[in-house]
Amino acid sequence: MSETFTQPMMNRPGVPQVSLLTVTSNSPVARQVYRMTLKGDGVQAMVEPGQFVHIKCGSSASPLLRRPLSICDVDRKKRELTIIYRVEGEGTRYLSTLQSEDMVDVLGPLGNGFPLGNRDKADRVLIVGGGVGVPPLYYLSKCLSKRGARVTHILGFNSQEDSFLTDDFHQLGETYVTTMDGSLGHKGIVTDIMAHWPPESWQAVYACGPLPMLKAIEQHMAGAYQTEVYLSLERRMGCGIGACLACVCHTPDSAISYKKVCTDGPVFKLGEVIL
């Protein structure tokens, strides 16, 4: 496997590489949602919140492509990476069958994550997540909290059964939960809660979730020019490293200008790309 091939820049922070990681745990945290921890030297390279890894699901030719999954947490001391994924199709179903000691072929870290900027104690920061957009925000919130920023979280799920990580977020700061059916927290969507504050009250807003949610946030924040807003996007991917052009999105500059979600993103500043 890949480990035998000379990797000139092994385990250097931020530099993508292929590593074989060992599953240390893998169990359900919500309906069809699993949390997996993976251990190995390759984890040393994973530093930036909002980056993702590209995972080979099995060693056969089918499923063929890697699957992009966000880095949800990193413990560099324990050399452990956490991902949280929902079982959607063949690839994630395969992941859900893995057990401790199984090996996984991981390419990462990939992409540009959430810029932490100069966040400090004075800053009020809003983090908004929906569904399986929530995982990368956990590592982000940890990093921001470490810097002392006052972080507010709004997490949206379909229902209580689909919710996860809510306790963990509570420990990092003020946390609001919304569900479509009202089975947990507020009945409704994340922007209902956002409406409680004027958009300018935040020095920064970070969001990841389904496209309609991101569009609603874009609209809500439209006039707040002082606030830095970062949105993390999803696209079907081929290579994950910028070579195949599967994952592009338009930018406002021209009809042919574009950004690649895998390398220019997945996190973009509001307005940088057309949602």
């Binding site: 292929v18 080979k56 089918s62 063929l64 492509l65 079907r236 195949c244 052009l245 592009v248």
Partner: protein, 314 residues
């Protein structure tokens, strides 16, 4: 390393000599920048760059890829920065590596092709052109050239007339009679063939009830199409005397040898780069030990062995 060990992977594609027969396939490697973060590009036998068109193109809307059993569909739509940017930025950047470039070119009229071919063939590190007459993704585009022997031959002749370097024609597999196309472009002056481009395919999403790709259909690549590629190369190589760059689903050194046995003189690796960014240099390394195990001294001795000494016919 003895001389023979060094030269055992060398291959000759007509006038072009490659230090080894492995190159990334067009469209699966961009212009090399991304993969240069993973290994030194000098290791490659050659690099086939992303199809270049006269003007810059954005390509198709997304989703542009979908997965299929042991394969993938793509409908990138020939997104590329256009001839000028390729000549001014990409090719000069690639010139830092000791590796010949095979410039894949596309267009929607003969004039487009001729325009791009004339200019790009003068770049110092372009060793050959690869005429993409088969890209199935661009509406009213390449598809027509690749499915009619006459039209394919006309285009080949026109491009040969202006090119400073050898011209390889990349064939579409979506045809009734691949041998007819191959012999037509050989007669028209092609210096070699690349085969195969992607098969036309589609996936439909059960939730939306619509095709997954925004473009509707796309090009099928990956291991799924390997047996189709092997069959076509096996047939065509018995009817032409120009060299063939084989491609379609290659994932291992064993696959490379299978393509040589069928009749290829070099190979290109596409989709597998997405699965493992190190796949090209890995396969180059593995080829050495595979040839040892097979008791083969020079890889070029394997070309066409599947039919040269056998009795089986396609």
């Amino acid at each position: 390393m003895t001389t023979s060990a060094k030269r055992r992977l060398e291959v000759q594609l007509g006038p072009v000599r490659l230090k080894n027969p492995v190159m990334p396939a067009s469209g699966c490697f961009g212009f090399g920048r991304e993969y240069s973060r993973f290994y030194a590009l000098d290791r490659l036998g050659a690099i086939a760059i992303k199809a270049t068109t006269k003007e810059p193109r954005f390509g198709n809307p997304t989703p542009r890829v979908a997965e299929t059993p042991a394969g993938m569909l793509n409908a990138i739509g020939l997104q590329n920065p256009g001839l000028e940017a390729v000549l001014e930025q990409e090719l000069p950047w690639l010139a830092q590596f000791d590796v010949p470039v095979i410039a894949n070119i596309a267009g929607s009229t003969v004039d487009d092709y001729v325009y791009v071919a004339e200019k790009i063939s003068t770049a110092p590190n372009v060793a050959a052109l690869e005429l993409n007459i088969s890209c199935p993704n661009v509406k009213c585009g390449g598809i027509a050239f690749g499915t009619d022997p006459h039209i394919a031959a006309q285009l080949t002749k026109a491009v040969k007339g202006v090119s400073q370097v050898p011209v390889f024609v990349k064939l579409s597999p979506n045809v009734s009679n691949i041998v007819a196309i191959a012999t037509a472009v050989e007669e028209a002056g092609a210096d070699g063939l690349s085969m195969i481009n992607t098969l036309l395919g589609m996936r439909i999403d059960l939730k939306t009830k619509q095709p997954i790709l925004a473009n509707g259909s796309g090009g099928l690549s990956g291991p799924a199409i390997k047996p189709v590629a092997i069959r076509m190369i096996y047939e065509v190589s018995q009817h032409v005397s120009i060299p063939i760059i084989g491609m379609g689903g290659i994932q291992s050194a064993e696959d490379v040898v299978e393509f040589f046995l069928a009749g290829a003189s070099a190979v290109a690796i596409g989709t597998a780069n997405f699965v493992d960014p190190y796949i090209c240099p890995k396969i180059i390394d593995e080829l050495q030990s595979l040839l040892d195990r097979m008791g083969v001294e020079y890889i070029h001795d394997l070309t066409g062995m599947g039919w040269k000494h056998g009795s089986a016919k396609a």
